[in-house]
Amino acid sequence: MSFYDRIFKPRRHTLSNGKVVEERFTRLPLIMLIILVCTAISVRITGFSFSVLFSGGRRFFDILFDMFPPNTSYLPKIWTPLLDTIKMSLLGSFIGAVLSIPFAVLAASNIVSNRALVFVVRLFLSLVRTLPTLVCALIATYIFGLGTMAGTCAIAVFTFAYVGKQLFEIIETVDMGPFEAMEALGATRLQAFIASVFPQVLPSYLSVSLFCLEGNVRYASILGYVGAGGLGLIMNEKIGWREYSSVGMILIVLFVTVIAIEGLSHAVRKRLT
């Protein structure tokens, strides 16, 4: 940023003891300019306009008002898909979180000294992370057929990438003192890892996994849209038939479930840390 400083000269202040300090010119105009230009381009391309928003904004609530009052008689048919959604996210999160452990260890540069290996594993993790979950779910439906299996797979892949990234960052910030002490006492690297690093990362690891589970319950409801089972499936069906009151009921059930699971996992995570 020295180029910027050359155009806008820093202000000089002379302190009472004769020392001269420089105050660099504020970066705010530059940042504002970049943001404004990006916004202008985006407005042009997406066709953002307030007039459309104000004239048509009322229609946004059409569907919302159709959802109330929710169709309570539809409630008994929601339970099975709801349980499917919860099961999918539970199993998917578990598989993903367990699978991510070896990869996270290999991606931690303080455990593995081979730079190339660390780089390759990290690249793999971020490649998997950029793969949209929806695409995973769609591919899984082609391979395993329509149903909950595809959703479980997609959630496992997503959890794997997310927990893997978080876990290797946690492992890298660990205190290496105990590890070195154990190695000095003659333990193998594996023993030292299990006895010294593992207990340090375990609470954060569980916490990250639970956090991921919370998000997955919500995400699992979208996956149904591509035929991967769960609440999304019936939601898609009811939207197709324009039975918005049933959709409202599904959303209320989902809301209560998500709040309950979040509360539970929040309580557990508070105990962990």
Partner: protein
């Protein structure tokens, strides 16, 4: 020495019952949810399909990838980028008041709890339902996608905003008070410098996530790269899928690299 170690082991809290119970609960939950593993492969061609998919994805359609017209990957990526960018900004504009209302150190408890419930309710509704609602307002296209993205951002953005507001160091405000600052000066020199880096960091992170989630918008035809991707997938044109995915992955990685650079700069001050 040996004795002290033995004594320390003896005094260690006995948690094996608790641990066993925990393992048992987790195992029971997994057993309960294992019913989701149903391979519903009626045609028996799962492996063949998987091979076709992989072949297609690794042979991307270069014609589509380097097409500079309105239907090429590059334009679609630009559109997605714009949707994510403006969606994040609109979402941030809505989240700021919402998170000040829900911060429990500024507002009385009932209002804060009501605000949090509202945020949780906004979060629960899946993106495609918002998409359907907004398409009634704006018609199909990137504008609907932008609005959907902004509503979807609110949940996470305001959650992080609330956390940074609740972490505000109030002693700074007290010392500014003691120095005789006006309310405006207190906000300008006491609150903004504390919140600004956190808020920017959250927004940049959310922008990153929005770019990744943009495929969801394609489900309802709300613009961006999602719709072509899903059309290509449902008509089994795997080389087109490969081309789109390749573009998307490269874009996401570049943006992620830039955003992590900026965010480390922000946290280090």
């Amino acid at each position: 020495m040996e004795k002290t170690i033995a004594a320390a082991y003896k005094d260690a809290p006995k948690t094996w019952i608790y641990k066993l119970l925990l393992v048992f609960i987790v195992a029971a939950m997994l057993a309960w949810s294992s019913s989701t593993i149903v391979i519903n492969d009626t045609t028996g061609s799962g492996a063949g399909v998987a091979k076709n998919i992989l072949l297609g994805i690794f042979h991307p359609d270069t014609k589509l990838l380097f097409n500079f017209t309105n239907s090429g990957v590059l334009y679609l990526l630009l559109e997605t980028l714009c949707i994510a960018f403006l969606g994040t900004i609109v979402g941030a504009v809505i989240s700021v008041p919402l998170s000040f209302i829900s911060a429990s150190n500024l507002m009385p408890r009932p209002i804060a709890v009501a605000g949090r419930l509202a945020i949780a309710a906004i979060r629960t509704v899946p993106a495609f339902i918002y998409g359907l609602m907004f398409i009634r307002v704006t018609g199909p296209g990137p504008f609907a996608g932008l609005l959907t993205m902004s509503l979807c951002s609110i949940g996470m953005v305001s959650k992080m905003f609330i956390e940074s507001i609740e972490d505000l160091d109030k002693r700074i405000l007290e010392s500014l008070d003691a120095a005789g600052c006006t309310t405006f000066q207190k906000i300008r020199y006491g609150i903004l410098p504390q919140l600004f880096p956190d808020f920017m960091s959250t927004l940049i992170y959310r922008f990153d996530m929005n770019l990744r989630d943009a495929t969801v918008l394609g489900l309802v035809g709300a613009g961006g790269i999602g719709a072509p991707l899903i059309f290509a997938m449902s008509s089994y044109r795997w080389n087109e899928v490969g081309a789109i995915l390749l573009g998307l992955i490269i874009l996401v990685m570049i943006i992620e690299w830039i955003s992590s650079k900026i965010r480390t700069k922000l946290t280090r001050g």
